[in-house]
Amino acid sequence: MDPVALSRRLAAGAVLSVPPFAVRLQTPLHVLQRSLHMLYGEFDLLDDGEAPDFVIRVSGTGGLHRFMRRQAMAFIDTPPPYTPLPERMAPIMFEQALNWCVATRTLTHLILHAAVVAKNGRAVIVPGQSGQGKSTLCAALVARGWRHVSDEFALMDPSTLAITAHPRPISLKNRSLEVVAAWAPEMAQSPAYEGTPKGTIGYVRPSRAAVESAPEPVTPVAVVFPRFDPAQAPALDAMGKAAAFIALTACSVNYREFGQAGFDAIGRLVDGNPVLGATYPDTGSAVALLEQVVG
């Protein structure tokens, strides 16, 4: 879509298909409009009148703040849970706001904080809070032809354990940005935003293939907890199932709300699949380990 037309629609409020959701975004900020054009270039715009799952507005803050430093603020329908960032970081505000909506308002699926990647239809869940390497590993695998199912949230059906794809711009922080740029120079990255509360943040643009395959759910064949350690040789270790159970419930954002269905789902996930710890000193060996898991 032509960037000028997109900007015009975003200024008035455009509805973006971010599978499996419809997201209405309204923003007058050029920095976010441009970033949407880049990062969501392969996603579809829906009719402006389409009913959305989430309504997000990102705008400059008014009042005195404006004159001191221009800031961006995301508004959802309830008071947003974060502080404004400088206006140039509006794309980060949008990603945070959308993550918040997905994590707090989606109870159609049991959600794990995890990346999900698949090769030849064999999907691996890579759990982890931000900063533990799941996004870096996700980007590295996607660059080698793996399917980008999800980079932040695994949306799992509690009865079938099937995972609904939710590909989004892959968020990379600090050193990961250089690691991924060196590993896959051809992958499109957003500008790096320096000086955020979490350091420097940048995003990888999802491919058309990721967006087109999104309607097809995947079934996990393994759970792999990543551990980057430059001092260790690459290794895959089986984790205890009880320990894995605890770790998975801890990285779920809505385990409680599912009650016994959540307990059964996580139990079946760890019973039915190998649960491994992958220790690796660099990206190349990480990718090799994951190839071994699905091989």
Binding site: A242, A243, T249, Y255, R256, G259, Q260, F263, D264, D271
Partner: protein, 97 residues
């Protein structure tokens, strides 16, 4: 009273506890409270015994010693007392009145 003769029993109606057991421990889901708890092997074994039949701390210690071939000791008594107290706080067990 030292409470060792109080009878402990499940606090929730029967069928509330759902178990998953593995080599490295087990987890239970208590449907009555909506809570999930991790238990090590020994604590899980104690709960299994009380689940099978309500009993006092004293009787429980006796069973443990007989089944596991252990000597009654202050350490063992304290370990069992602590487990029972934790289960009581979590509303998994209660003292029969």
């Amino acid at each position: 009273m030292d409470g060792t003769s109080d009878i402990f029993r499940l606090a929730a109606p029967s069928g509330s506890l759902h178990w998953r057991e593995w080599d490295d421990g087990c987890v239970i889901f208590n449907r009555t409270t909506g809570e999930t708890h991790y238990l090590d092997d020994f604590t899980a074994y104690l709960l299994r015994l009380v689940e099978a039949a309500p009993r006092s701390q004293d009787a429980l210690t006796g069973t443990v010693c007989a089944e596991l071939g252990r000597e009654r000791s202050a350490t063992l008594e304290a370990q069992i007392a602590r487990a029972l107290r934790n289960f009581e706080t979590l509303a998994v067990l209660e003292r029969a009145r």
